[in-house]
Symmetry: none
Subunit: 210 residues, 2 copies
């Protein structure tokens, strides 16, 4: 777990459990000890709990131990092919995550379509008439579903991206964006995996929009 956290990212408990190949209760107990011992810090966001190394001294100790530890098959998460795909683009619940999601969020903030994002906090959808707003049909975000029932889900919400430690777009807008990107064939689901593939058409379209 500590090795997985070496690059400074914050990872949720479930992810650390999977990396360590143990069940959630075991991971929870172990993480509790790491926190009690001051090796990692935790940050609760919604129903997730993100863990990160407590400081550079801890990272130094882990690295020093790696130097004298017998080499193990580093099937470590950070270098496998699927890990790279996940870091690039993936779905997070019903919205987009990964590098591409952050780029998209930055672009929308720059266009003035949304307020700057804060992890876990609700945001506001402002102008929907910029180039991106028109192309991505942001105007439709207001009316959710056909029931006419006003959802309590905020129209925009920041959701901490665990690969980059910055918030990407969740909420109704996040859901809408993923649906549009899938419908228009810019990204495609990869079976058996949460990762998403950016299609050739998508790559072209993103480039055209800057």
């Amino acid at each position: 777990m500590l090795v997985a956290l070496l690059d400074g990212r914050a990872l949720p408990a479930s992810e650390l459990a999977a990396i360590a190949r143990v069940k959630p209760p075991t991971a929870s107990a172990h993480l509790a000890q790491l926190v009690a011992g001051g090796l990692v810090t935790d940050r609760r966001i919604g129903r997730h709990r993100y863990f990160a190394l407590a400081g550079p001294e801890v990272a130094g100790a882990v690295e020093a131990l790696q130097l004298i530890a017998p080499r193990r098959a580093v099937t470590s998460y950070s270098q496998s092919a699927t890990a790279r795909r996940l870091a690039e683009a993936r779905s997070c619940y019903d919205h987009l995550a990964g590098r591409i999601a952050l780029d998209l969020a930055d672009a929308l903030v720059a266009e003035g379509a949304i307020s700057p994002l804060d992890a876990g906090e609700p945001g506001r959808l402002h102008a929907t008439d910029g180039p991106l707003g028109v192309r991505l049909r942001l105007g439709e975000v207001g009316d959710v579903g056909t029931t006419g029932v006003r959802s309590r889900r905020p129209e925009v919400r920041g959701c901490l991206d665990w690969t980059e430690r910055r918030p990407h777009i969740a909420g109704r807008l996040g859901s809408h964006l993923l649906a549009v990107l899938l419908a228009d064939g810019w990204v495609a689901r990869v079976p058996g995996d949460r990762s998403l593939r950016v299609t050739a058409a998508g790559r072209e379209a993103f480039a055209a929009l800057g």
Copy 2:
């Protein structure tokens, strides 16, 4: 046990058992594991068996762990007479350690000769023209050996002093300082021991320099 070996000395099994406050069979089993794991090397001399750290990586790992470990009362070792001598002045690999090393480091920092030390981190050698810098010939530190080969060893490095838990001077400067102090007769080696004796001349010289 590893902490006791941090200064590079080789200690017999019985000594390590006493330091760890365990009986000989326990120490023997533990040391066997340390040897098997490649953390320490052993050397049989007569009916004794001396153990030492396997290398600087191991020392680095132990030091890194000390930085994040809660402080413990180091009771056992700190009371014997030889322990007091070791705490005062000793060699650590090829450089100076102990109280005197820390005083020297503080004085050099105060004079602006070196940047404040950080355990395990490389530092910089700045002015060499202060009273201490001139007296200790810090100007010679730059040219290492006669080969002209640029050593990758940093000119200054912080090395955690296990008696005081503060960094003293290692690196090329540390090596240089010990060589100068020995050459000028300020300190002298004590046979059969890593401890150093501050000579009368040395005491006088240190006092004169503040």
